[in-house]
Symmetry: D2
């Protein structure tokens, strides 16, 4: 069986393969009355679009999104919104190599083992192209959030490429949009550019760490015990292709702290509780505190590389494989808008869940 | 709203508070014909039970599990299995301190902000006691797995306490049961003992990293895209109290690898594909490869400590708090059996999902 | 697999068998702040309790409900509410007859065919005792509705026993509680009493039709297309033991009407739209209109009768069966409070779903 | 919120409005390896297509279905199947009448009350056009059933139009495809033709009763208690536009039977249990017996009629309405293929659920 839906009330089902006629997202549960049109969604897809600079795959897709349902006279109606992106750059190419051989570190082999057959063209359903549908759905989620939680801002950025992390003391929100890596540290971005040039020439790839911060999240979002805000964020980020780890707030480093170090102390500000620090990443007991919600995830290097690797064929013969073609030396770059989209969907979902409650958020402090 | 169920086909709903009459797990979807009785479940609860050594809370609960439904003449019937654990050590104590003040780093404040009221006795629903219900459900999952996937073995252990990690070259499966920390490295365990003694005396606490390995998992488990095996494991582990990060295989370190380093090369063995390494942690594209499934998670230090911390009261007054009483200097220790239980539930769930498929696992290689 | 949960946001999982230690309902998603205690739930269970008059089974169960979780200081906390009813009248009796033979018209044979084993004591999970758990959950739903929709009233009653229907011109809401049949027509009730006396003596049984009306339901409840209010009511009622049909408003008779007859004409009253009739049963397009919501369901006669019937044994031998013991000549009587409970749960669930919407119910007319 | 998905493992989400660019079904959970192409689906849509004879609406839509994903080289891959039908006959017409006024007996008013806005063109989402998507999904379900349960046959037919029911003694399976009413009784079909001619001339409409029979259903399907086979069928049929009642087997008439009459006696045949009758409609305790599964549902007359009816406007003014345009005098006719499609989806879903079980269907009798 496959499970291609996420969300409790704002439910997104993505569909489509890399080289089929189209792919998209069926979004059920979007509230009515949200102003939206194709142009508003397109801006997010354009950010994610491949082929925009030399650091991402040269596949050129316009990735034009069409709204097929659920919107009438510029507003959502409360019925399902179908978002479709047609695949246009299905360059006729020879797939015999990857049709017969499994790329090490790729889903080729497991799809075959699970389903007994697979659409091998461009990775089929396991292709990163699936994430275009998430970005479209995320655009709709942002439009709804603009109505429901006006001050909320969601920003993704890369904080590490290979072993090179940013210097937090140089963190600049404005810098993020200025370099091809969504990097908040201009110096780090320069180093990454050099590193990636070398890597691209050698036909290799590298991993990365992405961070997504949501500012202005109301306190009280999250559904303990198994629909905690951090639980749903962990699932959302881990579902992105090539992600191998998810951290909330202090993340893995929380293991190294003592209780006295880790406690975010609380005082009273003019608008309610104020915290001395944010080790928690904005979430306690699975519920948002009102601080910034901070999530990080690690993206492994793409397995489509020019270095020959040992593998086996569908018939069980040992062989070697080299993956030619258009590939990203650091797929993590394109994961940034995807992480933002997932954050938007999860927060909207929990906002809707929370509204169903009698006296939602009535626990007023002070 | 609250969401207290996890699993797709093997669905576990935990219920109950730390100091209510009882807590438990309502398990729906357990296959019929699984041999089970209370003693078989009790062995797992006994492993998790607090108060067994000086490193865990001195609350003494027998944690005796009762099967109230779904089992007839020693076998499951396919109907819901109700597992109940009565709370017996509800020591009458003074809760006025935590009733009025929020512990920094604890869910006290967010439960209040979300619900407007909370059962503050012992943390109520956010208490680690809730995990006893998971361990009971996990015991049932193990019994079903023993029937469905006989060779499968699930083992949890601690690989880091504070800043002190184990030395993988000294890893010994047999050592795990021999020390109070479920530590596979006898030398590390000694160091931890000393460290924790000091910490306990100072009334502070520390975090930890737990690893859970499942050996003998069949290839083909996992439901892409949003019910991937790693997605569900990430959610399962992140839902455990105090967990702040989840890693699969190489985890955060995957960001530092190149594609050529990260590729687990494939050759043919007598029983099918054999991998040269396991950076993937046994999962590619969200589907199991047949290698060991390896998950790690970081547990933050408990927020109930003797060091005074600044906080606010329910009425918004600034104050200080010191949490006296029975607390764990390293709650990570008790998270080990919980991580195992979650792994068991997730794998069983995906095994059941996979069986529904025509020609499941028919993609035979070689 | 079994699926023992109903509801979208107000989710009820019933568990337990007729002759196990206990049965109950795990209720997840009840809003916080609802005043509730065991006595408030017990009143509904007492109405359903068997053995209250000569027309229902003489099994004597106190059916005392206990609240094990989710309630603190007299209010729900937003965490799961566990409602448990212990089985006390597990009279030791000889089950060898129904253990070996399948009762015609009973779930005995299908449970065996599905699961390969079954708890045959008193029907196990397929027993009407399971409905006690629904009544308890329905009591909690009513308490929440009292907060959320103060004017709402839910009333069930029997409108037909065997071939004898009530005369609608004699319909009297006050009469319902005065006779053992929940019959709104005093004359019909007398006829039924005579009829049932004869039936009971002959060891036979008979079917019935139950109607449940909800007055004061707000307009706008229902989630098209597959969570329509009538869809969910149909599922809820059909899930009750022995129910073979569900009607909304005009029901099967809608087939016989012309469009001009069936149209409930609309005029304006002081508080909004007013309808000339209610063929629709208060639901159009799956959404409540604000009129009375009217549901009817047919209950088949119990299959446990004294008349010998041909059947087969577990080993496939042909034989005859006579079911002795405590049985209801008209199980429909006890289905009345169950139908009310299901109506309460479904309406609360849709009220909660509806509240999640931006500007819910904002389509103001006039 | 809207809920536009049905099914547990075979999950169908329909999307689209009557007069938007397209509508369709996103089908998740279809097993891999099912042979399918657009032509195989088109045959079912052609049966449902309006405008084929004078008794159905004259809207002319080719209703050509496109497969956008999930199929590779003529087989399903186990990934989501997107089925799209473009709307082509969006005749530009004047909608000012129904934009401003609510049709009595139509969902116009409730959609407005719920959502505050609606796509009024042709009924928008509440249009019967939505059922085209169900028929496409049902075609896919049939293709999967052909692999999983080869002997299974699903047939829908009309058994009553207005007050005129068929004569069961003249029931002829072959006749069903020969007349425009899917009527198994040739004499009844003639009477209906005359009746409908008169009705059409007078601009009125009438209701109908549809029956769907599934032959060759394996014993053991159904997930008690809240995913019973009859529960899911009741929900599936009630979700179809204009349906007001659902019956299983004896249906409402079960109320009039005694227990001795209603018992389907059991003897042994060469292939297992044989029943003397089928009052149960093939389902006991929510689980299939192996007999024919028989479901009936009543369709109310369409509310779009030429007879003037009193109503109100969006602004609350009293007025009259007459609905001109292309409408069906008996929408029940077009509900027949829809009922078949829902039956196919529900049975496939339960077959997949059942396969997940250890030793599924192992309860062998004899």
């Amino acid at each position: 069986m496959s499970l291609n839906t996420f969300g409790h009330l704002f439910r997104v089902t993505t569909w489509g393969e890399s080289h089929g006629p189209a792919l998209g997202a069926t979004v059920d549960g979007c509230p009515p009355g949200v102003p939206i049109d194709e142009a508003a969604l397109q801006q997010w897809l354009d950010l994610r679009k491949p082929g925009q600079n030399k650091y991402t795959t040269q596949r050129r897709e316009p990735d034009a999104v069409k709204i097929l349902s659920g919107v009438f006279e510029g507003q959502t109606t409360g019925t399902p919104v179908q978002l479709m992106i047609e695949n246009t750059d299905q360059r006729s190419k020879d797939y015999s190599e990857i049709a017969a051989k499994f790329r090490p570190g790729h889903a080729d082999i497991t799809y075959f083992q699970k389903y007994g057959l697979r659409d091998f063209r461009g990775g089929g359903r396991s292709s990163a192209r699936e994430t275009a549908a998430r970005v479209a759905a995320g655009g709709l989620a942002r439009a709804a959030l603009a109505e429901l939680a006006p001050g909320l801002q969601i920003t993704g950025y890369m904080v590490q490429m290979g072993a090179q992390a940013i210097d937090r003391s140089r963190f600049d929100w404005e810098e993020i949009a200025r370099n091809p890596f969504w990097c908040p540290d201009a110096d780090a971005a320069e180093g990454w550019a050099d590193y990636l040039d070398g890597l691209r020439k050698s036909g290799d790839s590298v991993g990365a760490v992405i961070e997504v911060t949501a500012r202005g999240v109301p306190a009280g979002l999250g559904a303990p015990i198994y629909g905690k805000l951090d639980t749903d964020l962990a699932a959302a980020m881990m579902s992105i292709n090539a992600v191998k780890a998810v951290e909330i707030g202090e993340g893995m480093a929380a293991a190294t702290l003592t209780g006295s170090e880790n406690a975010d102390e609380i005082t009273m500000g003019p608008d309610g509780p104020v915290y001395s620090s944010n080790h928690a990443g904005g979430i306690l007991g699975g519920i948002s505190t009102g601080q910034d919600v901070v999530v990080r995830f690690a993206v492994k290097p793409t397995s489509s590389i020019l270095t020959p690797r040992r593998t086996v064929t569908v018939r069980g013969e040992e062989t070697e494989i080299v993956t030619k073609g258009r590939h990203d030396p650091c797929v993590g770059i394109r994961a940034v808008p995807v992480g933002e989209a997932m954050m938007a969907c999860v927060i909207l979902d929990h906002l809707l869940l929370h509204r169903g409650q009698i006296g939602a958020n009535r626990g007023h402090i002070g």
